[in-house]
């Protein structure tokens, strides 16, 4: 466990020490502010509507941001050769994968800060009354989506030797996962397949969260999907041993 935290700490430090992270954070904050202003103008100054619109834009942010956060994690280590140094240290493949995964999840969580800051500023200086419960549900919903996408991104990075390919593969993976839910319409309503695809419909999960509801069945699906993809990631790191 100690080695896991050493790896976890190093991943966090590598990100928080990098100029790229703060640049990305600044861009996200800038776009969030700009989108909010546009939504506010579009809704005739209705702050509640604007805030809800902003939350759904964060869905697209999640799809695009997660590959950016994960694409370097393994691909860069392989490109620079430090993968060899890492994997000959007394650490297990699972420790390495999980440390990288949880650090990227924590880093993603920091990108939710602008949303919370915006709500706090509106409450403090503009006498707005944000729906904090709904904001919590949105944040949990976005995190639920992100944990799956981050696992997809980490898997893509583990099977790629170049960051760019890892990013593209992760983006495609995210899109495919989102599209899987739409397959339910091809089956009879109420059939096993229809219900299965409804359960794994990540768009519906997010819709529920944006409506201010946390459905733990959906959380269970997200966690299960994440565990499955992380298992594949660990296996793909181990693959070097069997080639």
């Amino acid at each position: 466990m100690r080695r896991f935290f050493v790896l976890f700490g190093r991943e966090l430090k590598a990100t928080f020490d990098s100029f790229g992270f703060f640049l990305l954070l600044a861009i996200v904050m800038g776009i969030t502010g700009f989108t909010f202003q546009n939504l506010l103008q579009g809704t005739g100054g209705e702050m509640d509507f604007a805030l809800r619109g902003l939350q759904s834009w964060l869905f697209w942010l999640t799809i695009v941001l997660t590959p950016l956060l994960t694409m370097r994690l393994f691909a860069e280590e392989k490109r620079s050769g430090s993968f060899e140094l890492l994997m000959t240290a007394p650490v297990s493949d699972a420790q390495v994968v999980l440390a990288k995964y949880f650090s990227s999840a924590l880093i993603f969580a920091t990108f939710m800060l602008p949303l919370w800051v915006l709500h706090a500023l509106l409450a403090l200086f503009f006498d707005a009354e944000p729906d904090w419960g709904q904001l919590c549900a949105t944040s949990i919903g976005l995190l639920g989506l992100a944990i799956v996408f981050l696992a997809v991104g980490l898997f893509a990075s583990a099977v790629s030797s170049q960051q760019l390919w890892a990013g593209i593969l992760a983006l495609i993976g995210n899109m495919v996962l989102m599209a899987l839910g739409t397959l339910q319409s091809f089956f009879d309503a109420g059939s096993t397949f229809s219900r299965f695809f409804r359960y794994i419909n990540l768009s519906e999960h997010l819709g529920t969260a944006l409506g201010g509801v946390i459905d733990f069945r959906q959380t269970l699906v997200q966690v299960s999907l994440t565990c499955l993809i992380l298992f594949w990631t660990i296996r793909s790191v181990e693959v070097r041993k069997w080639r």
């Binding site: 100690r2 080695r3 050493v6 790896l7 190093r10 590598a14 020490d17 990098s18 620079s80 050769g81 430090s82 993968f83 060899e84 140094l85 994997m87 000959t88 240290a89 007394p90 650490v91 297990s92 070097r240 041993k241 069997w242 080639r243």
Partner: protein, 314 residues
């Protein structure tokens, strides 16, 4: 410390190692010698648990590299060929991270880092970013990483590759100083480096061990007796006398002083060859001023071994 038996490694259709076997005793310093692509790096990657063997048994410190890889990784210090370090980290920060990863705790982390920085003479550069270090200094940082947990076995893959002569000598001296406290396996195709740092060599070619010899034995490798003889007289006449001896080969000659010539000779007759030459020259009234053994240079021995190995495989 290292036991390799019938190690076979295949990458797809390519057979990188063909039933390699060798052993390294605790406290030994052994060179893994071979041309580029011979299989040195693959062997080292298997020993350091980065790659598994396709078949065969490899044990390090009594632990199997496949089933006890965690235990193996704790007792080895590995320096990969291109010294891949984290460029954005500072030297001491990197070493602290690696020390913790290798199981060192608390106050010992700082002590270990200070110790290895002193050993590799990087004290003055501890706060430098790794990406700003020269290749030689990066090599030292890599060596410090390999040493930070004071491992029993050091596996160094081409530690002087790409370095200038001064840096090469520095690293070589550093490796020599480690011989007392560590078992060392060092791979290289630079022979003076192996000569300076190792007691014994394992010569590998095309994925096969072609020889396992002490450095002195390697120099004496071959089936002919090689020696030099210093003779006073007319060169052409001396050569005629020498040519009379069957199987004697004159490899080289040079004039050392007026009418004094040094001949480099070889003969398959190890028992009587030298005496016969001496006798013939004295009988022909030449003054034999000296006769000395001429060992192979390490390069010559290496080339002969590789050729012998290739001949055997054909």
């Amino acid at each position: 410390m290292i036991e390799v038996h019938n190690l076979f490694k295949r990458f797809g259709a390519f057979e990188a190692l063909n039933f390699v076997s060798f052993e390294v005793e605790k406290g030994e310093s052994v060179g893994l010698l071979g041309v580029n692509g011979a299989g040195k790096t693959t062997t080292m990657r298997i020993l350091s648990c980065f790659l598994p063997p396709s078949s065969g048994t490899v044990k390090v410190g009594g632990h199997d590299v496949v089933f006890g890889s965690g235990s193996v990784r704790k007792i080895i210090g590995y320096l990969p060929e291109n010294v891949p370090l984290y460029g954005a980290m500072r030297v001491d920060e990197f070493l602290r991270y690696r020390a913790k990863l290798k199981g060192i705790r608390g106050r010992e982390v700082k002590e270990s880092v200070d110790r290895v920085l002193g050993m590799v003479h990087l004290d003055g550069r501890r706060r430098s970013l790794i990406q700003t270090l020269s290749k030689g200094l990066r090599q030292r940082a890599g060596l410090a990483d390999a040493l930070v947990h004071n491992p029993d076995l050091l596996i160094l893959d081409e530690p002087t590759s790409g370095l200038d002569p001064t840096q090469r000598i520095e690293v070589r001296e550093m490796v020599k100083s480690l011989k007392e406290d560590h078992t060392i396996l060092i791979s290289s195709h630079i022979l003076p480096e192996i000569e300076a740092s190792c007691d014994r060599v394992v010569v590998i070619n095309d994925g096969t061990v072609v020889a396992e010899k002490k450095i002195d034995e390697l120099r004496r490798f071959g089936d002919s007796d090689r020696f030099q003889i210093l003779v006073r007289g007319d060169k052409e006449t001396i050569l005629k006398v020498l040519e009379e001896q069957i199987d004697l080969r004159v490899e080289d000659s040079e004039e050392r002083a007026t009418s004094e010539f040094l001949f480099s000779l070889s003969t398959p007759d190890r028992e009587n060859g030298r005496a016969d030459v001496n006798r013939r020259l004295v009988r022909a009234d030449f003054a034999v001023l000296g006769l000395m053994s001429r060992d192979l240079s390490l390069e010559e021995a290496f080339v002969r071994l590789i050729k012998a190995g290739e001949g055997a495989s054909k």
